[in-house]
């Protein structure tokens, strides 16, 4: 009774209290305040920037992208001349970033898996060597390693006239690895297009084989068949069409090799540094993934009569992959982002070309940095999305 009376006394204030202490309302008010603070902060920054640019008489805008760049880039995967625009320079830089990232990811994955499995090897020497490699390289800054590799590559390789002569008219010197450049002839695009066709065909066969095995129990050598199709079809077409491919052989002219394809020492050093460094992290991921599969799984597989190799391929690896893939994704992203250190050793990646030369020449700091950051953000988000999709496919389907 007394209690009820007390509340009754406070009726006029109770709804105020209710509103004041209501979690939902408080939440919204709080969020409103934060939003307000954010907007004020943004306005403040934009206002300051605009005032600074006005005071300094710097125009803001993206017109500079169409201006003539006028500088040279050492590695040009697409057409680029001194008369190209800054926008074209941006594309060259972006492609170079993608080239080094993709090659780096492939190399790092191979090295990482080999080392990660080696670390679990029963061979004492191999396991120790893998451990020493991992513990040494992962604890030293990548930038330092890149500088080291660049110095090492340049000091080991001789000048272009004394370069090592390799098979197929290739030559390795401190100007890089020069190779004949393939020039596609008439009908070569048919060969190119046959590759995705072959892949699709292989996929269809794998699907058919799986269904047949589920239905009848008969197995089918899917891997060998797929390999045969994916490699065979383009090769057969290539031969049938009369080998529509010629090569531009590099020649030593004056100081350097002219013609052909060149893998510059900067790219070689980048790949060495970035893949050896990232591989240490991938190796640890792989080791953890394999250890995460309980021994009961392999024992069960053996008792079913699977051979060790089949056990690895059908039982251990698929389960380990589930543990490996999420951290592997972040390592790929790290590698892509770390490729920006290229500018320290003169590899013309996006940061070196665009946030380097273009920024310094045009002076449009805000626009250039914003575009560069947006590109990396987009690359990160795309990679993350792809890997999430892949991860969802291999994820354990819970009952």
């Amino acid at each position: 009774m007394t209690l009820r009376d007390k509340t009754a006394d406070e009726t006029p204030r109770s709804w105020v209290r209710a509103v004041l202490y209501d979690a939902t309302i408080r939440g919204w008010v709080f969020q409103g305040l934060v939003l307000l603070a954010l907007i004020l902060f943004a306005v403040w920054v934009v206002h300051n920037t605009a005032a600074n640019l006005r005071a300094a008489n710097i125009p803001f805008g993206f017109d500079f992208l169409n201006m003539r760049a006028g500088f040279d880039i050492s590695q040009k995967p697409i057409d680029y001349t001194l008369d190209s625009s800054h926008a074209q320079a941006f594309k060259v830089g972006l492609l170079n970033t993608i080239i080094v990232s993709v090659l780096g990811i492939i190399l790092a994955t191979i090295i990482g898996f080999v080392v990660g499995i080696s670390r679990l090897s029963r061979n004492w020497l191999l396991a120790r060597a893998a451990t020493v490699y991992i513990e040494t390289l992962r604890n030293v800054p990548l930038l330092l390693q890149l500088l080291f590799w660049y110095k090492a590559v340049l000091s080991v390789l001789p000048g272009p006239r004394q370069g090592y002569v390799l098979p197929f008219s290739a030559n390795l010197s401190n100007r890089g690895l020069t190779m004949p450049r393939p020039i596609p002839g008439e009908g070569f695009e048919i060969v190119m297009w046959s590759v995705p066709v072959a892949v699709a065909l292989a996929w269809a066969i794998a699907r058919w084989a799986k269904n047949r095995q589920a239905a009848t129990g008969q197995s089918f050598p899917v891997f060998r068949a797929s390999l045969g199709i994916v490699v065979g079809l383009p090769v057969v077409l290539f031969v049938v069409l009369g080998a529509p491919l010629s090569f531009e052989i590099p020649e030593l002219k004056g100081f350097n090799f002219a013609g052909g394809m060149v893998v510059h020492p900067e790219l070689i050093a980048m790949l060495l540094g970035i893949s050896l460094y990232t591989a240490t992290f991938i190796a640890e991921t792989v080791r953890a993934g394999i250890l995460a599969v309980s021994t009961g799984q392999s024992e069960a597989a053996f008792s079913l009569g699977l051979r060790p190799r089949q056990t690895m391929r059908l039982i251990v690896v698929p389960q380990a992959m589930r543990v490996i893939i999420p951290p592997l994704t972040s390592q790929y992203l790290n590698l892509t982002k770390n490729s920006s250190l290229a500018l320290a050793i003169g590899y013309p990646d996006l940061v070196a070309v665009f946030a380097g030369s273009t920024l310094n020449i045009t002076g449009h700091a805000i626009e250039v940095i914003a575009i560069t950051m947006a590109v990396y953000l987009a690359l990160s988000l795309i990679t993350a999305a792809l890997m999430n999709w892949f991860n969802a496919r291999v994820a354990l389907v819970e009952r």
Binding site: F41, F71, S155, N174, R175, N256, I345, G346, P348, G363
Partner: protein
Amino acid sequence: MRSNTFKTLLLGAVFLGAGAVAASAGTLDDVKAKGFVQCGVNGAGLAGFGAPDDAGNWKGLDVDACRAVAAAVFGDPSKVKYTGLSAKERFTALQSKEIDMLARNSTNTMSRDTQLGITFTGVNYYDGQGFMVKKALGVSSAKDLNGASVCVQSGTTTELNLADYFKSNGMTFNAVVFEKQEEADAAYDAGRCDAYTTDASGLYSIRLKMTNPDDSIVLPEIISKEPLGPAVRQGDDQWESIVRWSHYAMLIAEEFGVTQANVDEMKSSENPEVQRLLGVGEGVDFGTPIGLTKDWAYNIIKGVGNYGESFERNVGEGSPLKIARGLNALWTKGGLQYAPPIR
């Protein structure tokens, strides 16, 4: 949410901690208030122009430009604080008032002078771009460099001139571009490139740092005009005049034989030009109208010396660089250094 409250707080605290000065009337007042000139110099260190010695004291022709301004303002050339800047940062640092003046072997070009919100106050070194090559290549002229790999620092006028030169001579080349000068130097030294290009003055100083300086030669061609000079922000005419005339005072002093050693004796000179320079005589005061004292130029010469002395000490015969005066001789001796009269 809170994070951003926090961020605002953090930024606020940072502003307080930065000891920043709010925008005020002019750079001179700011400089006088804080008691020193904040001068942007070459962060990587370019021997002869701006580089710290073993004791960490900045030395060089560009550094003397800063010291001259400090001497003019405070009567004391040591009242300078230096900010080492990269090629990328230098103009932003000036625009954002991080520094009061920039003396970082920067080339005066039309776009820089007009589009970046800065003004060049003169030319303290007439330079031109040149090439350095390894002797072993047997190259004697830049015209022989067709097909060469060239190491160059990014974002400099050098990078663009290089491209223009090869294009206009119908030659091809392969640029290996580095963000920092040290890296470009090292790559050339390691044999990555056939040639190295930068301002000719820089070539001599960089050549000294090579593992074997005698293995490299500087080619005779000068492929561009590189008038290097100090710069200030646009829109502060008084400060611009001070920086401009600090340089002129050093030139005039050289022209009339006023040196660091004899400046006190020269005060009694009968030459009206010298009297006007040193602020001697009744009503001779050119300093006050630009916010300085009447003995502003006397202080410069007493503290830093005349242009010729500064040149010899930093880049000329008195230095390891041993660069000849050439274009940088006074106009009376066939060079380009010419100062308007004080009158």
